[in-house]
Amino acid sequence: MKIYLSFTIAASKMFFRRKSSIFWSLFFPVVTMLVFGNANILGYSPPNVGLIDYSNTDNSRTITDTLKKSKSIEIKVLDSEDEAIELLTNGSIASYLTLNPPIDEINITTRKGDVAEKEVVRNLVNSIFLRDTDSITELNNIKSNVADINYQGYKGFIIPGIAAMAIMQNGIFSVVFTLLSYKNQGVLRRLQATPISPSHFIVGHLISRVTIIILQTFLLLIMGVFILGVSIGQGSIMAWINILLLSLLGGVLFLSIGLAISSLAPSEDSAPALANLVTFPMPFLSGVFFPIDFLPKFVGYISNILPLTHLAQGIRLSALYGNSTLTTLPQVGITILWLVIAFSICAFTFKWE
């Protein structure tokens, strides 16, 4: 036990003394956060709008069809308000409409603070019916409403994404670059000449990195609060605990993926190249910078498999909407599933000596 502790402390000291590790785990993600957080990338898409038809009359069905045909708005027909709130929470839609009896009144619900969305949708709905006068059966009042969900814009979207990306990078790189360089330089071989096997050092190194990854996640999110003014966790302790859990799981997961990459790489030199091949495209496919809905459908299927997608989404739900572990079960579950797979691969293939 004492030996693991000594190795963990030693590995942590080495991390903080290396400028490049500070650069990659803090400086780089923060700069990315600042650059992208101030760019309004999400503003250019047709709004995704949910629609619930409570009236279910000929008239309301015509209104629904008219809206669905329009290219300036992306309508998702939903069954219940619960479903709408869920989609609103995870960002798949930015607002939803209800058609209410008896006069098919349209009610727009948006998130708190999302005034722009409300106006955009109201005007779009109006213009669709003005242009297409034939199909107007009876378009009555348009009312608006605000759901109890905070809208934090693209900043809110990108900050948890960057935090998840940083977990991936730190996890994979600290194995594929740092640990492998110790191995290649013969540092671990010297440990073999002591009564303690080098696997103790490897474990100490991993413990140290998981701890650093958790600290890094919290630091990045807190910097998001102070620099970009995003509110994180929504005052829910359970949300923060879930972020802690996800960064722990994500840390172990990506360290395991790093170990798996280094043992599956055909040669020692090819491990870093292989790691880049994994870490470069993944953030773009995993909803770090933009929602995966923006990607072509077939790419979306791949995205839904990737571990970073679920890690990023889980952290995002907790950070932006205060979701607890219970309400992010799919994300936490898939992360654990990936962890089991990656851990099994490296348990069977990684050479600890």
Partner: protein, 251 residues
């Protein structure tokens, strides 16, 4: 009294037999040299004794412990300096010694060990910043953390300047004075002559001869060998040391 016994030791790699049946014993308290050209099997033999690689066949004992079966126990009583030296770059020398100390669950006075090898002033420097000679001395310091009975030095002076080399010789002699047994490999014959009580000359994985350096020289001269070079009272290295002084340059 011998402390190391090696019996018919062999190491086969896929296509290459590095050690082909080596026998020797090392007496307690002596400096024993393994001499031979590159690829002769010196390092392989030493690394089998250190428990770093496993022999294909044959036996080796250190202090009555089988290096194969009692691998961990053997490692506790030996100190090792490997041929290619590398430690954690971003740890200070003090931290490296302490870290290795914890691996033997023995309390270590890191300052004392660093003083012993003349690295006191460098105690807070990173390994990365050391010169070649200093790296070798740190490597020797690390080998001392468990107060070992037997020390293995694999080409400790390769690439060092004459001052640093002589400094290491003095260090090795002082270990012998403390009663430690030392196994040393080297390419430098004057080094073997200076330090070793006995040497084994090894080539192509086999030991050709074992004896004390002076006996081996006598044997050769008795057979009628005449050096083409005139034997002089001093060597060029003596001149070099005389002109540049004995003190170490890097500190």
């Amino acid at each position: 009294m011998s402390i190391i016994q090696v019996k018919n030791l062999k190491k086969k790699y896929e296509e290459f037999e590095a050690v082909r049946g080596v026998d020797f014993e090392v007496n307690e308290g002596e400096v024993f040299g393994l001499l031979g050209p590159n690829g002769a099997g010196k390092t392989t033999t030493v690394e089998i004794l250190e428990g770093l690689i496993k022999s294909t066949s044959g036996e080796a004992f250190i202090n009555d412990l089988d290096v194969r079966k009692d691998n961990k126990k053997v490692k506790k009583i030996i100190g090792v300096q490997l041929q290619s030296v590398n430690f954690f770059e971003k740890l200070s020398l003090f931290e490296i010694i302490e870290l290795f100390g914890t691996l033997y669950s023995s309390s270590v006075d890191a300052n004392k060990i660093l003083e012993r090898v003349g690295l006191s002033k460098k105690r807070d420097s990173y390994f990365k910043t050391l010169s070649g000679g200093q790296k070798q001395r740190l490597s020797i310091a690390v080998a001392l953390v468990n107060n070992p009975k037997v020390l293995f030095f694999d080409e400790p002076t390769t690439g060092l300047d004459p001052q640093a080399r002589r400094n290491l010789w003095d260090l090795i002699k002082s270990f012998q004075k403390e009663g430690k047994t030392i196994v040393l490999t080297t390419h430098y014959m004057e080094e073997a002559e200076e330090l070793c009580d006995r040497v084994a000359i090894i080539d192509e994985g086999k030991i050709i001869k074992i004896d004390s350096p002076s006996n081996l020289i006598d044997e050769l001269t008795k057979s009628g060998f005449k050096s083409s070079k005139k034997i002089r009272e001093a060597t060029l290295e003596d001149v070099f040391i005389d002109l540049t002084g004995k003190s170490l340059r890097e500190d």
